[in-house]
Amino acid sequence: MAKEISTYIKLQVKGGAANPAPPIGPALGAKGVNIMEFCKQFNARTQDQPGKVLPVIITVYTDKSFDFVIKTPPAAVQLLDFAKLKSGSKEPNRNKVGTVNWAQVRQIAEIKMPDLNCFTIESAMSMVAGTARSMGITVEGERPF
């Protein structure tokens, strides 16, 4: 028989950086889950993306066991990575944030397609470009569609 689900917990945690502190500690701890076990697993599974913000959905079962799914980094996080690469500085400049191009927008749209509820790559690209605008990043060049 399938295990009975107690709750879902949605968080965003940096790769390799889960520790038994808030919000993981209080959220999982209150459900009687062994937090140390979650942290060890999460950190091992995200060790190739250290420091990158990753959405994680944790399913907690009534028997206090758990499962979790790690999603691809949010479009905004990926956009910021590209913008930083371009500006060549690890610290984004205060005034000139940097830019990305449409090829990069497409690359992110392709990765995020499954999460975005979009039927076409163009609509996914529009959403990613919208995210770029919302965070003050300019998309360079002519819109390809």
């Binding site: 808030p22 919000p23 500690g25 205060r94």
Partner: protein, 274 residues
């Protein structure tokens, strides 16, 4: 460690942008809400001017407001720790809490009251380390336990009649917990030190135990090797089976030869000899 929750109130469409920008600082974890986000950071790392500077990138930032709340450090794992099952590891060792009955049939036992520290015997990596430790002779040897957590491996080394044991961890809870568990298991002579490989001096060891994670191990292998006696053993775990080759290769560049490999579930453990 005490934490701050910084609760941002903003249009939900800005949640993603905010998380991305705040991720550029020392905020480690985030939670999304319908009217904003919560961002979490160790209180000692919080810098208000850094937050203001990051938010300034976002168009319409004048409508974002935030408030901070202080979250005092406490044992968040208490609920699980108050009611877990004892573990028998491969007929070698019985690990239990103070509230469990003592081991039957005279099996060697360690009593652990974990308090938000790793090492209750439940995790595959702890079991693998115990199994690796059961093979060589620890009698009269010197042992270093890096990332000691609950202190379970250091205590086990002492039970195997190791002479001198040093337990090291970066985490306050682990240091305190190792101290308590050493006393609880009649192993008061174990030396305990807070820190990482930088606290290691000129002392050399016959055995080094390190159940940590792949990235820390890769980074610190050279230091372990430098404080390991010639002919001594390095026992590591905390990594996945897919990372075995990478670790074996890196260790070989420091003259460490793989002696034993063990696997359990997705996890692995290795013993090297210098």
């Amino acid at each position: 460690m005490d934490y701050l929750e910084v609760r941002f109130y903003n249009d939900v469409s800005l949640n993603e942008a905010l998380i991305a920008w705040l991720g550029e600082s020392d905020f480690q974890m985030f939670e999304e809400h319908e009217d904003g986000i919560s961002a979490f950071i160790p209180e000692q790392d919080y810098k208000e001017e850094k937050v203001a500077e990051l938010i300034r990138h976002i168009p319409g930032n004048e409508n974002i407001r935030f408030e901070k709340s202080f979250i005092k450090d406490r044992n968040w794992n208490k609920e699980w720790e108050s009611n877990f099952e004892p573990v028998t590891i491969s007929d070698i060792l019985y690990v239990r809490a103070p509230f469990h009955k003592a081991a039957k049939n005279g099996l060697r036992e360690i009593v652990i009251e974990p308090k938000m520290s790793f090492g209750t015997g439940h995790h595959a990596t702890t079991a693998l380390m115990i199994e690796l430790m059961a093979e060589p002779d620890f009698k009269g040897k010197s042992v270093l336990d890096m990332g000691c957590g609950s202190g379970v491996l250091a205590i086990f080394a002492k039970q195997l009649e190791a002479d001198d044991v040093l337990a090291v961890d970066i985490d306050d809870w682990s240091i305190e917990n190792t101290r308590e568990n050493c006393l609880r298991n009649q192993a008061p002579s174990i030396r305990i030190q807070k820190g990482d490989v930088n606290v290691l001096g000129k002392e050399h060891f016959d055995f080094i135990l390190a159940n940590i994670n792949r990235n820390v191990l890769l980074n610190d292998l050279n230091v372990y090797c430098s404080v390991l006696k010639s002919g001594g053993s390095l026992l590591i775990s905390g990594f996945l089976t897919e990372d075995i080759d990478l670790l074996v290769e890196k260790a070989s560049t420091f003259g460490l030869k793989k002696e034993t490999e063990k696997r359990k579930e997705a996890w692995a453990a290795l013993r090297f000899i210098k």
